[in-house]
C-alpha cells in the first residue's frame, strides 16, 4: 500500500509499469523464500525416514558382517545367546507374536463390541460419557500399563492358574494388558467406520423387518468391514511395536517357548534392555539391536501400509 502511494506521485506514463515491477518483484521474492522455508520444514520428515532406514541398514550390515552371523541363521535360529555367538531371532519373534496374539484376543472382541455398542445402540448421552472414558484409556502412558501388568494382572493370574504354573514375568499378563491398551484404538477406528455407513442402509434393513442386531451385524458391519480390518491391522502393528509393557512384565531373557505362562523377551524388550545397559558401541549385542530394530521397522511399516491401503478403499466407497 505504501509503495503504491509513493509511486502515484511519479509520472503517469511510468506509473503502470513501475508500479507493477516493484510491487511484483518484492512480493515474489519474500513469498518464494517463505514457501521455500515451509517446504524445507516438510522435508525434515523425509530426512527422518531416510535417517531411520540408513542407520538401521548400516548398523545391521555391521551386524551381519560379524564373524559367524548370517542372515539365514538370524531368521531361522531358535537360540539367541550373543555370548556364545548364537543369533537366532526366532525366540524374540515368537514371544512378540504370542504377546500380540493375546493382546488381539482381548482387543478385537472387546473393541468391536464397544464400537458396535457406541455406534449402533448407545444413546447420545451415554456415548458422550463413555467415549471420553475410553479415550483416557488410550492416553495412559505405556509404562503405567506395564506397572499395572506387573503389580495387578500378574498376581491375579498367578492366583488363578497357580504360582507354579505362572512365572512372575510372563507373556500372558503383558499380552492381556496390552490388549486393554489397544482396545480404544480398535473401538474408535471401528466406530468411525460403522458411523460412515449411510443411515439409509440401516433403514432398508429395519424396514424389511430385521432386528437391530441383525441390521448391525449382517448389514452395517460388513459394509464397514474394510475400515474395521484396517483398524485391526493397525492394532496388531501397535502390539508388535509396544515396548514398555513387555519390557516390564513379560520377562528379560530370550526364551523359545509358546507357553504364555512363561517369561520370554520380545524384540522390543530386548532392544530396550540391551540399550538401557552400559554397553560399548562395538559389541555384538549392541550391533544386534539394529538388526532386530530393522526387522521390527519392516514388519510395522508393512502392517501400517496395508492398513492405510484398506481404509482408503472404504473411504472411496462412501465419499
Amino acid at each position: 500500500m505504501q509503495k503504491s502511494i509513493s509511486i502515484s506521485n511519479g509520472s503517469p506514463e511510468s506509473l503502470g509499469i513501475e508500479h507493477k515491477r516493484i510491487f511484483r518483484n518484492n512480493k515474489r521474492w519474500s513469498e518464494n523464500i517463505i514457501k521455500m522455508l515451509l517446504t524445507l520444514a516438510g522435508i525434515v520428515s523425509i530426512f527422518t525416514t531416510i535417517g531411520i532406514v540408513y542407520e538401521l541398514g548400516k548398523e545391521s550390515l555391521l551386524f551381519f558382517n560379524l564373524p559367524g552371523v548370517t542372515l539365514r541363521d538370524f531368521l531361522t535360529g531358535t537360540t539367541w545367546q550373543p555370548t556364545i555367538g548364537k543369533f537366532g531371532v526366532l525366540p524374540l519373534v515368537t514371544s512378540t507374536m504370542i504377546t500380540s496374539l493375546v493382546a488381539m484376543f482381548v482387543a478385537i472382541p472387546l473393541g468391536l463390541g464397544a464400537a458396535i455398542f457406541l455406534s449402533e445402540y448407545a444413546a447420545d448421552k451415554t456415548r458422550k460419557v463413555l467415549k471420553p472414558l475410553l479415550e483416557i484409556l488410550a492416553g495412559i502412558p505405556t509404562v503405567v500399563y506395564g506397572y499395572f501388568a506387573l503389580t495387578f494382572m500378574t498376581p491375579i493370574l498367578r492366583g488363578i492358574f497357580g504360582q507354579d504354573n505362572v512365572e512372575i514375568y510372563n507373556m500372558l499378563s503383558a499380552g492381556l494388558v496390552m490388549g486393554i491398551m489397544i482396545l480404544p484404538l480398535i473401538s474408535s477406528m471401528s466406530e468411525d467406520a460403522l458411523h460412515a455407513v449411510p443411515r439409509s442402509l440401516r433403514d432398508a434393513a429395519l424396514g424389511l423387518g430385521a432386528t437391530k442386531f441383525e441390521t448391525s451385524i449382517q448389514i452395517v458391519f460388513p459394509a464397514a468391514l474394510s475400515g474395521i480390518i484396517s483398524a485391526i491391522i493397525l492394532g496388531i502393528s501397535r502390539a508388535v511395536g509396544e515396548t514398555m509393557i513387555v519390557a516390564i512384565a513379560a520377562g528379560s531373557g530370550p526364551n523359545f517357548t509358546f507357553n504364555p505362562f512363561k517369561a520370554a523377551e520380545t524384540m522390543t524388550g530386548y532392544i530396550a534392555r540391551i540399550s538401557g545397559g552400559d554397553l560399548g558401541y562395538d559389541t555384538p549385542d549392541y550391533n544386534s539391536i539394529f538388526a532386530i530394530g530393522l526387522l521390527l521397522f519392516i514388519v510395522t511399516l508393512v502392517l501400517n501400509m496395508v492398513s492405510r491401503a484398506i481404509s482408503r478403499k472404504y473411504r472411496e466407497v462412501y465419499e
Partner: protein, 260 residues
Amino acid sequence: MTNQTSKQWAIETQDLDIFYGDFRAVKNVTLKIEPKKITSIIGPSGCGKSTVLRSFNRMNDFIPGAHVKGEVLFQGQNIYDPRIDPVQVRQRIGMVFQKPNPFPKSIYENIAWGAKINGYKESLNDLVEECLVKSALWDEVKDQLQKPALSLSGGQQQRLCIARALAVKPEIILMDEPCSALDPIATLKIEDLMRELSNQYTIIIVTHNMQQAGRASDFTAYFTMDTDRAGSMIEYGVTSQVFTNPTNKSTEDYISGRFG
C-alpha cells in the same frame, strides 16, 4: 381377529399426533386407507408427509425423541400397543425409500436377505425370481444375479428395492418419494409397477409430483402446515375428486401449482 368396524381398513388412524421431542410435527390425523389400492400423500415440503408415512411401520422409533399420541390401527390392531414388537410391524408393512438404498451385496442377496432373516423355508431361488418378475426387473438382471446391486442403474436399483420389500411378503408397501431420484422413463416404469402390485398389495406413496399422484393413485390425502408448523391433513378422498373438485381452497392452490 375380530374387527369392530364392518369394513376392514388397511390402516386406520384416529387423532394421530406425531412428535419430535417437544415439537409436534403432525397433528390430528384421522385417516382410513383402503386395502389393495394406491393412496398418495401430497403436500408442501416439511408438512410431515414422511413423518406420517414412517409412523405407519414404526420407522420413527429409531429417531431419538420421536413418539406418537393416538393410534395407528393395522387390521384393527394398534401397532403402537406396547405388547407389539415393532419388528413384527415392519414385516407386515414394508417400505421403499426416497433414494434407492440397495445393500452392498449381490442382487440375489439383496432380495434373499429379508426372507432369510425372517425364517423363510421354501426355495429362495424361486422367491428371488418371483419378486424380480413382480418388480419388472427379471428380464434385465436374470443373467447377472450375483452382480453387485450397486452396479445397477438408479431406476433398476429402486425396482430392486421394491423387489426386496416384496420378498418379505408384506401386506402394505410404503413408498416415500420413490421416484424423486429417477428419470422420467424409470419413473413411468415404477408407476406401472405400482399399478400392477396394487392387485395384491396396499400401497401408500408420498410424492411431490402432482401428475404422478393424479395418474397413479386411487386416493389422495393432502397435508399442509399450520401456523404452529404442525402438519395436518385437510383433504382426503378419491383422487379424481380431490384433483378436479377440491373442497379446500389451499388444496386447489397447491394442486394447480400456485402454492408450495
